[in-house]
């Protein structure tokens, strides 16, 4: 039970990172982006490539940051991967979403995002193989924190939660303290009014994709660190991430943060009573429950 709770917090931190980016995109561009979870895959695989690259170029970097299984190379790879994934998100928007936006309606965007997700997933599968990969093959010993109730933790897991919270704290400061943050929120609230006040809409859309992509990359790397990297991790995570945005209310950044943790914890606690085969269906049950009890989520507005 305690173990499930702690595992849930770990999953929740990863989902929060994904959901914050997704809810920002959904709020600003007003479409449900089913390709968002593929940014997690892009991030995880980009970090895999950079990690191998750094390790080969500068073997000094492969020293482990004990007690973590992470190396210094992977930390650098994570930062570069966040940048790469942010740029990929901007590119996907330029190549596909902007053109579909110009021609079709919101519905076409949703369909297009599914198409993009299919292509990204299959290309990754072709390029890296459909088998699972790991950042390190070394065995990381888990620490038994307590025996009754049983609680086992890996140092990596603790790091993931702390790092995710740190990234979210930085984002919170940027959005609530800087002019840029105000401009971003203004565009999401009312694009025309923001433009009248001299906010460049195109640049703000780019910023949202950059931030969303970077957060997704971090989530992807953390997921890879805590579990494993597969081409279909995006497919497995898309529903929980959407559930997190719905729990928090579509468009609310703080809601997405909280929603991620709620979905992560609820999904893991559900495994106490449900056989584990049912875990992919749990996010849908959470969505149904939210729609029944509080259709606009914790912090959502009636209609955007």
């Amino acid at each position: 039970m305690l173990q499930n709770l702690v595992d849930g917090i770990l999953v929740g931190a990863i989902l929060s990172l994904g959901a914050i980016g997704l809810t920002m995109v959904m709020h600003m561009l007003r479409f449900a982006n089913f390709a968002h979870a593929e940014l997690l895959s892009i991030g995880a695989y980009a970090a895999l490539v950079f990690d191998a690259l750094f390790g080969a170029m500068l073997p000094v970097l492969t020293v482990k940051l004990a007690p973590l299984s992470m190396t210094f190379a992977l930390v650098l790879a994570l930062i570069l991967s966040m940048l790469t994934t942010g740029v990929s998100a901007v590119l996907i928007d330029r190549l596909v979403f902007r053109r579909v936006r110009a021609k079709g309606d919101d519905l076409s965007m949703v369909f297009a995002s599914f198409g993009v997700a299919l292509i990204v997933r299959a290309v990754i599968g072709l390029a890296f193989g459909i088998h699972t990969q790991l950042y390190t093959r070394d065995i990381v010993m888990a620490v038994v924190v307590s025996r009754d109730p049983l609680l086992i933790l890996k140092p990596d897991q603790l790091f993931v939660v702390v790092a995710a919270l740190a990234i979210m704290a930085v984002l919170h400061l940027v959005l609530s303290r800087t002019t840029f943050g105000f401009a971003l929120r203004a565009v999401a609230e009312n694009p025309s009014l923001a433009q009248v006040n001299g906010v460049d809409l195109g640049r703000m859309i780019m910023a949202v994709w950059l931030i969303g992509g970077a957060l997704a990359a971090a989530a992807g790397v953390f997921y890879g660190l805590a579990n494993q990297i597969t081409p279909h991790m995006g497919r497995d995570l898309v529903l929980p991430i959407f559930a997190a945005t719905i729990v928090g209310g579509i468009g609310s950044i703080h809601g997405a943060l909280l929603g991620g943790f709620i979905v992560g914890i609820a999904a893991n606690l559900a495994l106490v009573i449900l056989p584990s085969g049912y875990s992919p269906a749990v996010p849908f049950l959470i969505i149904l429950a939210v729609l029944l009890l509080r259709p606009n989520g914790l912090f959502g507005e009636a209609r955007a």
Partner: protein, 319 residues
């Protein structure tokens, strides 16, 4: 020669079944502007419902009520309709993202439950023990396949005719009015949410019909038949054919299904042995590219929707 003909019969049967599902999708998306991200859940509900109701009793799972086939098929459609109603009633009054996410979720949950709940529907092994209708008279061979093709074609024609009448009726006009301008429709005293829900449930019941026919054709259904891939294929069919145009929808179905089977055959024949594992990925890229490409360059599809100007109570031309 007979091999080719019997393959054509097989191909046409499956394509016609899928065309029925695409017509249901067209009612939701083309006519009403509703996003259905979980077509396969309603298709699957129809297939599982039909086979559970019409099958012979099984020792290890529920079902096998042995109902006559038309009744079982209707039951399958009802199962799809009920599932659609539950999702629709919760989401249709919210912004449309919610319907997209909830329908996507219901497909994942449905597949997941069917895969795990062995006592309900056989789990990953699938659902067996179904006697195809009139099998005792017609045997298992070519004659039966011809007969079943005729049944499917008749139902496709009936669905087409019914939907054509519906779309031309005042109700169809209302659907388009809501799709184009919800506020204007509301100002005329219409209730958009209720109409949308009706269209969503009706479209899903049609997908259930297609699922029931599919399950009957193979006398078997398993979680393998209801993966998200089918949803993407059905979308591609409608996007290529042209959302809002029924003739386009049927043409798109045959076109995409032919392209899908042909590419699958070609890949399995031509790809080197160590690449066989990856032919699926190539097909996914193709279907994704078709969806994205059509939306980018020809969002109206090959056969665009013909916009009708309603002329009720013809006014005499003014001179």
């Amino acid at each position: 020669m007979i091999g080719l003909v019997s393959y054509l019969v097989f191909f046409t049967t499956v394509a016609s079944i899928l065309a029925i599902a695409v017509l249901g999708l067209n009612l939701q998306w083309g006519n009403t502007g509703l996003f259905n991200g979980g077509v396969v859940a309603f298709f699957g509900a129809g297939a599982y419902g039909t086979l559970l109701l019409g099958g012979t009793p099984q020792p290890d799972h529920l079902g096998g009520f042995g109902l006559v086939w038309p009744l079982a098929l209707t039951g399958g459609m009802a199962a799809a309709a009920v599932l659609a109603w539950v999702v629709g009633v919760l989401t249709i009054r919210l912004r449309q993202d919610y319907l997209a996410i909830a329908t996507f979720g219901v497909a994942i949950a449905f597949e997941n439950v069917m895969r795990n709940a062995e006592a309900l529907a056989g789990g990953a092994k699938g659902l067996r023990g179904f006697e195809r209708p009139l099998m005792a008279w017609l045997g298992d061979g070519f004659t039966y396949n011809i007969f079943y093709l005729c049944v499917v074609l008749a139902l496709l024609a009936a669905t087409y005719a019914a939907l054509a009448r519906l779309v031309a009726s005042p109700f169809g006009r209302l659907l388009r009015a809501i799709r184009e301008d919800e506020v204007a429709a509301r100002s005329l005293g219409k209730s958009p949410d209720r109409i949308r829900l009706t269209a969503f449930v009706a479209g899903s019941a049609i997908m259930g019909l297609a699922g029931g026919l599919y399950g009957t054709f193979y006398a078997f259904v398993s979680p393998q038949d209801i993966t998200p891939t089918l949803t993407f294929q059905l979308w591609a069919m409608l996007i290529v054919g042209g959302a809002g145009n029924m003739r386009g929808a049927v043409a798109g179905t045959f076109l995409i299904w032919a392209a899908w089977t042909a590419s699958g055959w070609a890949l399995s024949r031509l790809a080197p042995v160590d690449w066989q594992l990856y032919t699926g990925q190539v097909q996914f890229i193709m279907i994704g590219a078709v969806i994205v490409g059509m939306l980018m360059w020809r969002p109206q599809g090959l056969v665009p929707e013909r916009l009708v100007v309603s002329q009720s109570g013809r006014v005499a031309p003014q001179t």
